[in-house]
Amino acid sequence: MSLTGGGRTACSCCGAAAVYLQRATGRHFCHTHLAEEVEARARKTMADDGMPGRGSRVAIALSGGKDSTVLLAILHGIARGQRDLDLVAITVDEGIAGYREATLRAADAMAARFGIPHRTASFAELFGETLDHRVEGQESRACSLCGILRRKALLTLAREEGAGCIATGHNLDDEAQSVLMNWLRGDRDRLLRDPGQHADRGFVPRYKPLREITEKEVALYGMGTGLFSPLPECPYRHTALRGEARAMLNAMEHRFPGTMERVVRGQRRLALAAGEAGRAPPGSCTVCGDPCSGPTCQACRVLDGEVFRAARHR
């Protein structure tokens, strides 16, 4: 596959053959200028969000998929110019047969390629069983349970590595899907949570440098820089509400370019307007001590089986 061939559409920056049409602006980009645009936007987001730079140890949540791989490459590029920016890649093996093996190999290869130390921990090691085993007969709950436990696992790994923050590969599409899902669930707390407020409740702060970059831009960046090859899809993907939200938003984005950006910015304005009133009161989990809004954090409820019992009664 080539990214340098001809076409009748030309890059708005240099006139070379375009690989991408930014539908919201009507601008075309060749690979080189798309890469520059993506990197500049990631740097700006990091600066806007106050992500720690010099003198910091940043844990990159590396799944091995395209988003976290692109994040790894961009942060590696930034770290080359900042010798005291210390990167470590952290990977969680959820235990999903037929899917995770290939992405774990990809994560290993990418961390080695960039010379970044890499730690992996599995659900089986941390929580006593694989995701496959845990959700047997409850497959429709797989994505929400996986998300809760993965956050806990990443937090554990980041603490063990002495990281000052966690960087994740969430892109603009992911963020818009999360907003729509929160509306669909009627989740007031999450809708009013300011995504720019990361460190006010005792967590290792999390940052999303790609949160203003579309999934297609991330994918084209990765293809153009030879970062990855096709990987298998998660077998639980089709059970997720996220899939429905993705399809709805993609359809709207096609008809009304810029929809996803407006959805995310609207939620952020809502959260800023809500201010303190929108934030859940900080507390500590009575089981593990991690910050949470109720007496027990979601991860401990999952591990205790409470979420499973509640799900059976729905």
Partner: protein, 64 residues
């Protein structure tokens, strides 16, 4: 023109000199969700596709 879909199946579209986006529309594919190569080269959806061209659609969304 010959079009390879993300699942590997191949369709033939009888058209000449139309935008890639229109080809995708005929196949019910949203251009937001795919990267398109034309004769092995990545092109934006407003590039033109000719009768003899070969298009390949690559799905960009993975994960859960």
């Amino acid at each position: 023109m010959r079009v390879q879909l993300p699942d590997g199946t191949v369709r033939t579209v009888e058209a000449e000199g139309i935008p890639v986006e229109q080809v995708l529309g005929l196949l019910g594919v949203n251009p937001v969700e795919v990267i398109v190569t034309r004769n092995g080269t990545v092109v934006p959806e407003d590039a033109m596709a000719e009768r003899e061209d070969e298009l390949r659609l690559i799905r960009i969304s993975h994960g859960g």
